[in-house]
């Protein structure tokens, strides 16, 4: 008996009707018996797998379905074992054209009218379109290898092509690991200097005298070991771009030389007498506040204003946390390709931990965290137990502390029960479902003060 629009109709669906319903839905559906043989296979399943129904029915499900989890973590097997359904688990299958098709699967048990398990049913949804849309959306947030959807970074993406087209010096400020070098590369690639050298040098990595010879080169005989002439980085950069990282660390003497090159484009190699010309565009970066260094008298103000024609301030990752899921997916894709692994996603719990983390090392640190997980995984999902200890430890420390919250809760419950029962302790204990001696003990340990007039003592 079934009810349609309030009318009771005696009707039992025929096999043909059930088949027509199954074939009309867009999700793939197949059923298996207890021996893992396919017993039915709908039209959508044929389309997604590329296997005709007549070939699928009677075959072992894993030879037809060919999912990434068939061998290691079959969802139906788990449902058979536990009786619990699996809902929308993301996996991939290999269709009969050899293409990987992303799908989500759900499982359930098939039972006869006596409740005996006679098989299982698996439904699956083709996620190719979702995946394509995700990639298209993702492409909108990628700018020259930089991934971000935060408004601050999107503003930078907008002005970057304009900055790139000019030949003016650019100063990039941002904490360590925020992507200063990527921005410098993007400026170079978007400029007319693309195709010419992009020379990068970390000024903080060289002692002062060595840095000078690295930047400007030297002539034979300039110092003891200078057997022959050596080109400096400015000469190597030619008409390209030179990127000077950690510019805040250079000495006052070198600041003068740099000022000169920025002012009239000339410099002298160490030990040389001739003046050379440089046509390289200068991009500088620092993880310190240069203005602060100027105010402290540790950085020349004239050099500061020379290099600071355009300033790009990169926000730290903790100020653009909306980018964390996007960056995680970016690094998962990157390391899947690099290491030939099939890590599909990150679990909601692991994602929550990573979003709550404050990233002193910024995007670089996030990348290292994902790489760490990849060492421990060959497939599946990034879970909290694959994250580095320091991230988990921080998570534990960051948990909200609720001192005495259990005690406060108990005190409130007991007080409320006592008040409801006119301070009669036996009745209150009954209401709370505990023995009255337990209640006495709790009253004592929680130091609950009772009124002189209570249920026992009315006078």
């Amino acid at each position: 008996m079934m009810e349609i629009n309030g009318k009771k109709i005696k009707h039992k669906l025929s096999f043909e009707e059930i088949e027509a319903i199954l074939n009309s839905i867009t999700d793939g559906v197949f059923t298996v018996d207890e021996g893992w043989h396919i017993t039915s296979f709908n039209r959508a399943a044929e389309k997604i797998t590329g296997v005709p129904e007549e070939e699928a029915v009677g075959s072992f499900c894993y030879n037809v379905f060919r999912a990434s989890i068939c061998e290691t973590d079959c969802a139906l097997r788990r449902t058979f074992k536990t009786g619990k359904t699996v809902v929308n688990k993301p996996v991939y299958i290999i269709n009969s054209d050899g293409e990987k098709v992303p799908i989500s699967i759900s499982t359930a048990l098939l039972k006869d009218k006596n409740g005996k398990v006679v098989g299982g049913v698996e439904t699956f949804r083709d996620l190719s379109m979702v995946e394509r849309l995700r990639k298209e959306l993702y492409a909108k947030y990628v700018f020259e290898d930089i991934v971000s959807k935060s408004p601050r970074m999107q503003n930078i993406f907008e002005i970057l092509p304009l900055i790139a087209r000019s030949d003016s010096p650019v100063l990039i400020e941002g904490e360590s690991g925020t992507g200063k070098e990527l921005i410098a590369s993007a400026i170079h690639n978007l400029s007319g200097r693309k195709g010419k050298p992009l020379v990068k040098i970390n000024c903080g990595a060289f002692p002062d005298t060595l840095l000078e010879s690295e930047l400007f080169g030297y002539k034979a005989g300039a110092f003891t070991d200078a057997k022959k002439d050596k080109k400096g980085r400015f000469a190597v950069a030619g008409k390209g771009t030179i990127f000077l990282d950690e510019i805040g660390d250079i000495s006052p003497a070198l600041q003068v030389s740099l000022l000169r090159i920025l002012q009239d484009g000339t410099y002298q190699p160490l030990g040389g007498i001739e003046t050379l010309k440089s046509e390289a565009r200068v991009i500088t970066a620092t993880n310190k506040s240069l203005l602060q260094l100027v105010n402290d008298g540790r950085f020349r103000s004239d050099l500061y204003y020379r290099i600071n024609v355009f300033k790009i301030e990169l926000p730290p990752l903790r100020e653009r946390k909306e980018d964390i899921p996007l960056l995680i997916q970016h690094f998962i894709d990157k390391y899947n390709k690099l290491k030939g692994k099939d890590v599909s996603d990150i679990s909601p719990e692991a994602l929550r931990i990573l979003v709550n983390y404050d990233y002193p090392g910024n995007v670089r640190e996030l990348e290292n965290i994902i790489e760490h997980s990849f060492v421990l995984l060959s497939g599946g999902m990034i879970t909290p137990d694959t994250l580095p200890n320091e991230v988990i430890k921080k998570e534990i420390i960051n948990l909200p502390v609720l001192p005495n919250s259990k005690k406060d809760f108990e005190r409130e419950m007991i007080l409320s029960a006592l008040k409801n029962n006119n301070w009669n302790r036996s009745k209150a204990a009954r209401q709370l479902g505990i023995h009255k001696t337990t209640l006495y003990r709790k009253i004592k340990s929680l130091q609950i003060k009772l009124p002189l007039l209570d249920g026992r003592n009315k006078e």
Binding site: S59, C70, E71, N95, S96, G98, G340, D342, S378
Partner: protein, 128 residues
């Protein structure tokens, strides 16, 4: 020649991309000269191919394989007979006897293989 077959219990693994256990069999004049099992758990897809190559494997008999992974394997110099199903010893037996036919292919893959006796032809043409 040495061939590798990814296995799962007594059967050919359904998906080579996700297979970590391999039987590596050395054939000498159609006889099995050596037969060893390898557990490559923890190795990435590329590392598994490299490892099999280092063992001297020249051919893989397997189930489903993605086009991308197939390219990687072929580039490493290993030949592949994919889309096979069945008990590993049965497949090995029919391969040695040159009786590997479309009947041993996974459902939906018969259109991919027009030849009826793929094993014999393949071996005669490629393994001389």
């Amino acid at each position: 020649m040495k061939l590798a077959i990814p296995y799962w219990n007594d059967w050919i693994s359904p998906v080579l991309d996700e297979a970590y256990h391999f039987r590596v069999i050395e054939l000498r004049e159609d006889d099995i000269a050596d037969d060893r099992a390898y557990d490559l758990s923890g190795k990435s897809k590329f590392e598994r191919v490299q490892y099999l190559r280092s063992l001297g494997v020249e051919m893989i008999l397997c189930g489903a394989v993605s086009n991308g992974y197939m390219q990687v394997i072929l580039l490493s110099g290993i030949r592949v007979i994919p889309w096979l199903r069945g008990r590993i010893d049965t497949i090995l037996g029919v391969f040695i006897n040159g009786e590997l036919s479309t009947g041993y292919l996974m459902p939906g893959c018969k259109r991919r293989r027009k030849r009826r006796r793929i094993g014999k032809h393949f071996r005669e043409r490629n393994l001389r």
